[in-house]
């Protein structure tokens, strides 16, 4: 197990290194001078040039840049006057994370639940109902759902606040809207996975042993069917965290997604760089956690993999 964890860790560190290096060189390829424009006053421009060592040779710049990143210093935002990139991330990330976690929990619980219901009722009306719901969940974009929710619960029924991220009631609509896509995907996977497990030999054995149906479903079917779900959980987390821009904008949530798009529009290179690396690192860590979870849930992984 230790060897497995070490191996995963090394791969993760290598990925981070490649990401950081690629970001550095890609940003150098973007046309234009990041400090151009009359709105950036000369002192800031000069300080930034010195801070990022842009007057030095490329190799040296790269070393300084890696040094800054290792110390966790992303520098000043170019477009948001007086704001440090670290501060921007620190201010905005809690909301994005909170929203992401709520959405993930909602989608995992409901997604898996609907998947199980559908599989257990295969070919029956309940199965078709979930299939239709899944289809809607996958094909209707989250911003449409968000706008409809906002109008229905906020303006029409007047039982939920329209927007912003303040109390528990504020979190309900955005988390649900954001969870829908992932929920649908999880439900579909769970259904397929359950159906596959149902015909497996060990289920037959369990039945032959005369176990009760509920016992078979809970202890054998669901537990084994969950394993493939874990595989898609990593990318699903990525989807929820990076796909939140529209939701953040519609519900006026001060999260990272909005900063990302604004930074791109304003050619705020330092902020774009900071956010890219932050998102990248976050996803790598998430995938790493999923890898560890594999090891815990499925003993075969930790023994057979190097």
């Amino acid at each position: 197990m230790a060897k497995y964890i070490l191996n995963r860790l090394l791969v993760a560190i290598l990925t981070m290194f490649v990401l950081t290096t690629a970001t550095f060189f890609l940003l150098r390829l973007v046309p234009g001078d990041p400090f151009a424009g009359p709105k950036v006053i000369p002192e800031i421009k000069e300080r930034l040039r010195i801070h990022y060592g842009l007057d030095k040779p490329l190799a040296e710049q790269y070393l300084i840049y890696m040094g800054n990143i290792l110390r966790g210093d992303f520098g000043y935002s170019l477009a948001k006057r007086g704001h440090r990139v670290n501060e921007v991330i620190k201010d905005a990330f809690p909301q994005s994370l909170d929203l992401g976690i709520r959405a993930m929990i909602t989608s995992i619980i409901f997604g898996i639940f609907f998947g199980i219901i559908a599989a257990l009722n295969r070919g029956k009306p309940l199965d078709y109902l979930t299939v239709v719901l899944v289809l809607i969940g996958i094909s209707v974009p989250s911003f449409v759902v968000a706008a409809l929710l906002q109008y229905f619960f906020g303006v029409y029924l007047k039982i939920l606040p329209v927007a912003r991220y303040d109390t528990f009631w504020h979190t309900l609509m955005p988390s649900f809207a954001l969870s829908l896509g992932t929920m649908a995907v999880l439900a579909r996977y769970m259904r397929a996975s359950m159906l596959e497990v149902m015909t497996a030999d060990y289920i037959k054995t369990a039945r032959a042993k005369g176990l009760r149906n509920t016992q078979i479903v809970i202890h054998h079917q669901i537990r084994n069917a969950l394993f493939p779900i874990l595989t898609i959980l990593g990318p699903a987390i990525a989807m929820v965290l990076t796909g939140s821009f529209i939701i953040e904008s519609i519900f006026a949530i001060p999260g990272l997604g909005r900063h990302y798009v604004l930074a791109m529009q304003n050619l705020d290179y330092t902020l774009v760089m900071g956010l890219t690396l932050f998102f990248g690192f976050f996803l790598i860590v998430m995938n790493l956690l999923v890898d560890f979870m594999y090891g815990i849930i499925d003993p075969r992984v930790r023994y057979t993999r190097k």
Partner: protein
């Protein structure tokens, strides 16, 4: 059988759970405590990055800056109120203004001194791109250019409680100008202490206005509480002002409909009419101009420069623009056709508006398209260039900050005009700050630009002053010494009627040959909640003035 039971059991749990949630909701919604506190809630689109009035100015910033800072005077509901200055004297030649400050404190307990004003003006001329509107102050333009030292600026503090401002011209609108947020006092000690971070956080700012900035959650909200030490605190009825940052306009509208924000600016005339039917709409006089800038330098391409610098070319385009048709059909009446830069509602001297004085309306630019005249002007351009057809004209860059595919925006309409008269256009769609980087000097990276202007004071000069040769604003390229001289002459004239005549002359010259095509003026419409009382509007400065308003629920 077992399976069926299992599921039914779960379904029951779900239904029960949902009912429980609904119950909790009902309780939660009905038990919301009725607070006595009067809170005014304002929507804004965002972009609040720095609240130092010398760094960033926009409608969103003004909403906060006018509340937390107090300039020497304050304009409210068309009236001039004292501000940080209790009394003032104007010298007979109209060139020297002496302000006597009242005893006032910053929110951190320090006294407001005359030095805070001197620091603010020096800092403004040193770093603020919009400082040119204050160029009437002696040595202001020179300080911006780095030609004089800060000590030579015409803003002085002979003692702790006196601010003396010396002008280079006896301009009649100076009291309106001095009330702007740009002219509010600043804190040198905090600017030094926080450096780059000054103005970017609530901690780095001290307040001295009717409200105190108490909380600023970036990209989320700004909270301001009533300042008990404010000189006119008895008249301030609101306890708290909250500004919510709401980037999606539909969200603003939904929040307004749900009673979560106190006003909303309708996006179209159709929306305005809906609110009018509900009795929630306030129509008001609004300044500003939407126009098309032409870069007469043609991005340093001599052929382009020759064409773009030709006033006939400007007129060929202007006469092809159907201002009235665009407003009626696309904006559903939400605007007024502009045939000169200054809106007719602008004041000029007591009792008269510019619309009653100016002789230039409808003279140089038409309200409806006149394609025959447009073609006649274009033929003159072709003749000058030695071309036989429009096809020989080069391709032009059209810079816009708005989605050129948005049919509601003037950029989309202008594109159709360009195409109709046979121009080849390359659209440069620059978003956010990138648009200004392209537009402003020194870049001037455009041939045509969708642009506009909002008034800084209620005088036609505000619509012409930024077109002078020394201006660094909005990427203007008129550079006409005769026009500069006329404006200077107007501001030296103390007889207001004579001054109006000179401004009229300047406007005629500008409308005739400047590389600028006026398109539309704005109609002001605002949806306000019925419980908001005493909300006023202004043509310049704080457009929606809530400072003295009240909430009566």
């Amino acid at each position: 059988m077992m399976k069926g039971l299992y599921i039914k059991n779960n379904l029951f749990k779900i239904v029960f759970g949902l009912l429980l949630i609904a119950l909790v909701f009902t309780i939660a919604m009905t038990s919301v405590a009725q607070t006595e506190e009067k809170v005014f809630t304002i929507p804004t689109n965002g972009g609040l990055d720095n609240l130092d009035p010398r760094v960033l100015l926009s409608t969103a910033h003004a909403v906060v800056q006018y509340a937390i800072f107090e300039s020497l005077v304050r304009t409210h509901d068309g009236e001039l109120l004292p501000g940080m200055a209790e009394t003032w004297e104007i010298s007979d030649d109209g060139m020297t203004y002496t302000f006597h400050l009242r005893d006032a404190k910053w929110s951190d307990g320090k006294p407001v001194t005359a030095g805070d004003f001197v620091h603010a003006f020096v800092r403004m001329f040193e770093i603020c791109p919009a400082s040119s509107i204050f160029d009437d102050i002696k040595n202001g333009a020179q300080l911006r250019a780095g030609e004089v030292t800060p000590e030579e600026l015409g803003v002085k503090a002979p003692d702790e409680k006196t601010v003396v401002i010396t002008l280079k011209n006896p301009v009649p609108y100076f009291m309106g100008l001095i009330g702007l947020h740009l002219g509010s006092p600043g804190r040198e000690d905090l600017a030094i202490k926080f450096g780059d971070g000054y103005g970017a956080t609530a901690e780095s700012l001290a307040s001295c206005g009717p409200f105190i900035l108490t909380e600023w959650k970036h990209e989320d909200k700004v909270v301001m509480e009533k300042n008990p030490d404010y000189w006119n605190a008895d008249k301030i009825k609101l306890d708290k002002v909250v500004v919510y940052i709401l980037p999606a306009e539909q969200t603003q509208r939904n929040m307004f409909d749900n009673g979560e924000i106190d006003y909303y600016i309708p996006r179209s005339e159709a929306e305005a009419v809906e609110y009018e039917a509900e009795g929630k709409l306030v129509r008001y006089v609004r300044g500003g101009i939407r126009d098309l800038h032409i870069n007469k330098h043609g991005q340093n391409d001599p052929v382009k420069a020759k064409i773009l610098g030709n006033p006939n070319f400007m007129k060929a385009i202007s006469y092809a623009i159907d201002r009235q048709g665009y407003i009626d059909n696309v904006l559903q009446g939400n605007g007024l056709p502009a045939t000169v830069q200054t809106p007719p509602v602008t004041g000029i001297y007591p009792g008269k508006t510019w619309g009653e004085v100016s002789t230039n309306y409808g003279k140089y630019h038409p309200e409806t398209a006149d394609l025959a005249r447009s073609k006649a002007y274009m033929d003159k351009v072709l003749e000058d260039m030695g071309y036989s057809s429009v096809d020989q004209l080069p391709e032009f860059d059209f810079l816009t900050s708005m989605d050129p595919e948005d049919p509601k925006d003037v950029a989309a309409y202008l594109l159709s005009v360009f195409t109709d008269i046979g121009l080849k256009i390359n659209v440069v769609y620059a978003t956010g700050k990138q648009y200004y980087n392209n537009l402003y000097k020194p870049a001037l990276a455009y041939d045509f630009a969708r642009a506009g202007w909002g008034p800084d004071y209620d005088d036609p000069h505000t619509y012409m002053g930024y077109w002078t040769s020394s201006s660094m604003d909005m990427g203007v390229t008129f550079e006409n010494p005769e026009f500069d001289a006329l404006l200077d002459k107007a501001n030296k004239e103390t007889d207001l009627v004579k001054r109006a005549q000179i401004l009229n002359q300047a406007e005629a010259l500008f409308s005739d040959i400047a590389p600028c095509i006026p398109i539309m003026h704005f109609k002001g419409a605002l949806a306000v909640q019925p419980w908001v009382k005493g909300l006023t509007t202004a043509i310049s400065g704080l457009a929606i003035d809530y400072i003295y308003s009240d909430i009566v629920k």
